[in-house]
């Protein structure tokens, strides 16, 4: 009796699930889940399996009997995996610490104090984020390489012997810090805005000095933001490829990501061992992301009390102008100076200079390099490829992300939580690893998109899904569900409501998400590292390739072109955002 009761009660929910999977809606969610699994889970799975296989990937051939730990034994036994870990983690720690200090100070300065030009400072403080890491690395190599760096030449000509070495831990950590500080800045600025300044005033009224209040009240209150942005930056730095590849190798600092690339790309290729190393890296990033979620979930202080005006800003007194100079000077130093260096190199005919005098020789300047670059078939071809890949990513991505975001935010269909979860998984998956996973998957799958632009597009769509889904979700959440419901009550079907109500209202948000995708895919390097052939090389790859071959002039021109394209996109996005706020206020 009891057994029967138990079995029927167990069967009924499963039957409902069964039925719902075959209802049109259930089937739809199932298809979405399958697509996402195919795009994101499968490549990672293939990589993990591959790391246990003895032979490199081959079409339609996985020899399940040969599962082995040999790859892991080999990379661990090599001994240098510890060195790789040490270098990777140590540089990431330095970079994160620097990013925290820079990002938090600038945020505090711009939001809490009466520093001159504070709103401008707040806007320019995130500019370094728009410099692609690859371009930043080129520029700092040109500026501060020990022998021929422009700064070092200038210092030597002035009789100073303080040679900067960008190839050191300190140098790489510095470049890490300046380009990742804006992430911290954004988090801390948001946190500072969420904390009522009355908490600081209460400390002053208790007799605490400005300095003491900063340490004992303000800092602890933004600590959650510091922790979670710090962890985010740490993860991004661990998986970063471009800066270590450019600045690490010359100083004999070997990073995990660079080593993975070498293992796959150098002969003899060791894809299996590279995959094992990739799995190790994945373990690290996944762990860190999980910790970040716990930190973020546990506590964040939101203490805005709706009432009242912003009280007076902290008066810096005589420190006002010096601090403003420091803040703006820093931004000029890390954004403008690198581009000045790139422009200089792009215009310079030969790169043999050893004194200030030689540097200042205007006869050496010409536009020849630009002409050369623009007529180079590889440059032109890869520019076109990058455009196509970006457009493809935006088209496929925004459709997919919108569908996922809509199902997650606006329906109560079964399986939407799983959709959401898979869509944000790539946060913890380095682009390099996605690329390697795609290599495994598509070599063993029969239909041939390997060697086409499509494989790069699909890999990008997987890689950027967290950013894309979040951006579109953000604009969907802002639409009052009642707007949609009233359309349904007017008799409009789902498709009609989507077309006439939801998409038009969410359009500015969707558009900025699309531009974000364009930006990300136009500058991406690591994800495409293993997926290109000579005809499908993208722009960043060509730059990287030319750099390795020493065509510094060409690279400088290309870096300027890439930045120009990205800057135009950023301006477009800002414009759209401004229009959006006009519409909704």
């Amino acid at each position: 009796m009891t057994g029967l009761a138990a079995s029927t009660s167990r069967r009924s929910p499963s039957r409902r699930l069964f039925a719902s999977a075959f209802s049109p809606r259930g089937a739809f969610v199932a298809c979405l889940l399958a697509a996402l699994t195919f795009l994101i889970v499968l490549p990672v799975l293939a990589l993990v399996i591959g790391s246990f296989l003895p032979t490199p990937p081959r079409a339609l051939a996985i020899d399940w009997s040969g599962l082995t730990l040999a790859n892991y034994r080999e990379i661990l036994g090599e001994g240098n995996v510890l060195a790789l870990l040490r270098v990777t983690l140590a540089a990431a720690v330095i970079g994160t610490a620097g990013a925290l200090v820079i990002g938090a100070s600038l945020a505090w300065l711009a939001i809490r104090t009466d520093v001159p030009g504070r709103s401008l400072l707040e806007n320019v403080a995130i500019l370094p984020m728009f410099v692609p890491p690859l371009v930043g690395a080129f520029a700092w190599d040109i500026l501060a390489s020990p022998k021929s760096g422009i700064i070092n030449i200038a210092l030597r000509s002035l009789g100073l012997d303080a040679a900067l070495n960008i190839y050191s831990f300190g140098g790489i950590g510095f470049v890490f810090a300046i380009y990742y500080a804006p992430y911290v800045h954004l988090f801390v600025a948001a946190a500072l805005r969420n904390i009522d300044p009355v908490h600081e005033e209460a400390a002053w009224m208790s007799g605490a000095s400005r300095w003491r209040c900063l340490w004992q009240i303000t800092l602890p209150l933004v600590l959650p933001a510091l922790l979670s942005s710090g962890l985010l930056v740490f993860v991004l730095l661990i998986e970063l490829f471009a800066i270590p590849a450019i600045l690490g190798e010359p100083g004999n600092l070997h990073f995990m990501s660079v080593r993975i690339w070498e293992m796959v790309g150098f002969t003899p290729p060791k894809v299996n061992q590279a995959s094992a190393l990739g799995v190790l890296m994945l373990l690290i990033t996944v762990t860190l992301v999980l910790i970040q979620y716990r930190v973020l979930g546990k506590r964040s202080f939101v203490t805005v009390s709706g009432k009242g005006l912003r009280p007076d800003l902290l008066a810096l007194g005589t420190a006002r102008w010096p601090l403003a100079c420091l803040g703006f000077g820093y931004i000029l130093f890390v954004v403008l100076m690198p581009y000045a260096a790139l422009l200089f190199i792009a215009l310079r005919k030969n790169l043999f200079y050893a004194t200030l005098g030689a540097l200042a020789d205007t006869r050496q300047l010409s536009l020849d390099q630009f002409a050369l670059a623009f007529s180079d078939p590889v440059v032109r071809g890869s520019f076109l490829n990058s455009l196509l890949v970006s457009l493809g990513t935006v088209t496929v991505g925004s459709l997919l992300y919108f569908t996922i975001a809509y199902v997650v935010q606006r329906t109560n269909l079964k399986g939407r939580r799983a959709l959401d979860l898979i869509a944000i998984l790539p946060i913890a998956i380095p682009g390099l690893i996605i690329g390697l996973g795609y290599l495994w998957t598509w070599i063993s799958l029969p239909f041939g998109i390997y060697g086409t632009l499509w494989i790069i597009i699909l890999a990008y769509v997987s890689q950027f899904s967290p950013q894309g889904v979040r951006a579109i979700s953000g604009s969907l959440v802002q639409i009052d569900p009642e707007l949609e419901e009233s359309s349904r009550l007017c008799g409009a079907g789902l498709a009609y409501t989507l077309r006439r109500i939801v998409v038009p209202l969410a359009w500015p948000g969707i558009l900025s998400a699309m531009i974000l995708l364009l930006i990300l895919s136009f500058r991406e390097l690591a994800t495409a590292l293993f997926l290109y052939t000579s005809t499908t090389q993208v722009f960043s790859l060509t730059m990287f390739d030319f750099w390795l071959r020493g065509s510094t002039n060409l690279v400088a021109v290309m870096a300027l072109v890439q930045t120009l394209v990205l800057a135009l996109l950023v301006l477009l996005a800002r414009r759209i955002r401004r229009e959006r706020t006009q519409i909704f206020t």
Partner: protein
């Protein structure tokens, strides 16, 4: 009362504010305000939203710097832009209770309250003793280890008070400390606050826009309008001798209507004719003359209504338009020669029905007039 204050006046006031002005842009949020607060006095700044109360308090606290004027604490100048004197908030030794409590969420109750003592580098056991005694004073002894984030609004307010009290401040400032609480709690905390102030004898400046709170707590009320202090006085004085229609309206729910002086009667009385043609005898301070435009203020509690007292000299015919039963009293709205007039009858009975014709009695010594300031314009 007046004698007592005169005796206290012999010492220097605790806090002196002179011609204080603070501008935001072209607009003065605080406009040439002058007042003193004596030792042990509880002064309330009362005024409508946006009149500059918070700004005034922040100037005294040192959280904002004045553009003109002077502030002295215990005779020492703490803000005087003309002499380039500005003592910062943390050096003034003033305790402040903020409207939004400002309890630090990353510290527990004990640590919040102990903070001012730690800043002053007091010894551990000293801190423990003082914090415990002040927590007992505000009735929070049991919560001392709780996280500040788990407290209710009323509890947070008590923590804020304890934190402001713990270091024996020279002056205590309150910025609408009760306005975020519900009515019941507000009334209870108001009583407690008054009791606490009586026991500790602390000099306090208290900001509110709630006249009931002001009347109950204050030794003296400063009524503010548009950044200026328009009247200063004990609650009773403001209630009975408002110097402007604004004060009368703000401090009470009085009946106020415009009129013109017909003639001065003997003994500080005058007869006034209202816009709708009513005539009545009212009290004045000896400054009115015939033909003056005035506002007549009559408190609803001071009037009586009855069905059978026609023929009295200060009795008028009126009709009950509506009545609102309020438990311990009933508020009747009368139609008195075409104008609405409120009367409050104390007691839990409400015998008169709507529509009844009644006789309204306005005691002539309770009807006051305020001469209209020509600068104020006529309405």
């Amino acid at each position: 009362m007046a004698f007592e204050r005169a005796a206290l006046k012999s010492q220097a006031p605790k806090c002196q504010v002179e011609a204080l002005t603070k501008r935001y842009g072209a607009r003065a949020a605080v406009d040439a305000v002058t007042f003193d607060v004596d030792e042990g006095e509880f002064v309330v700044l009362l005024g409508p939203s946006g009149c500059g109360k918070t700004t005034m308090l922040r100037l005294v606290a040192g959280l904002a710097a004045p553009d003109e004027g002077r502030i002295r604490l215990d005779g020492k100048s703490v803000a005087d832009p003309a002499r380039d004197v500005f003592v910062r908030a943390e050096r003034r030794g003033i305790g402040m209770v903020f409207q939004s409590y400002a309890i630090w969420p990353h510290m527990n109750v004990f640590e919040n309250v102990a903070y001012p003592l730690r800043v002053r580098r007091q010894r551990g056991e000293e801190i423990k003793r003082k914090v415990e005694s002040v927590l007992a004073l505000v009735g929070l002894s049991a919560e001392s280890r709780r996280s500040a984030a788990q407290l209710s609004g009323g509890q947070m307010q008590r923590v804020a008070l304890a934190r402001a009290l713990v270091f024996d401040p020279t002056l205590l400032l309150f910025d609408e400390p009760l306005s975020n609480l519900d009515l019941k709690l507000r009334e209870r905390l108001r009583l407690e606050l008054k009791e606490l102030q009586r026991r500790t004898g602390l000099t306090s400046i208290y900001v509110t826009h709630d006249q009931a709170e002001a009347v109950e707590l204050a030794d003296r009320i400063l009524v503010m309008e548009n950044g200026r202090v328009v009247q200063v006085g004990a609650p009773r004085e403001l209630y009975h001798q408002p110097q402007s229609r604004f004060v009368a309206e703000f401090i009470s729910t009085a009946n106020i209507f415009a009129g013109q002086v017909l003639a001065r009667l003997a003994d500080d009385f005058a007869s006034v004719k209202t816009m709708t043609g009513r005539e009545l005898a009212v009290r004045h301070d000896g400054t009115v003359s015939e033909g003056d435009l005035v506002d007549v203020v009559i408190h609803p509690e001071d009037c009586r209504i009855s069905v059978d007292e026609s023929g009295r000299p200060d009795g008028y015919q009126a009709r009950i338009v509506s009545r609102r039963y309020q438990g311990t009293s009933t508020r009747y709205t009368l139609d008195w020669a075409g104008e609405m007039f409120d009367v409050v009858v104390l007691g839990s009975e409400a015998p008169l029905a709507e529509g009844a014709e009644v006789t309204l009695t306005v005691p002539r010594e309770r009807a006051r007039i305020i001469v209209r300031n020509s600068a104020r314009g006529t309405r």
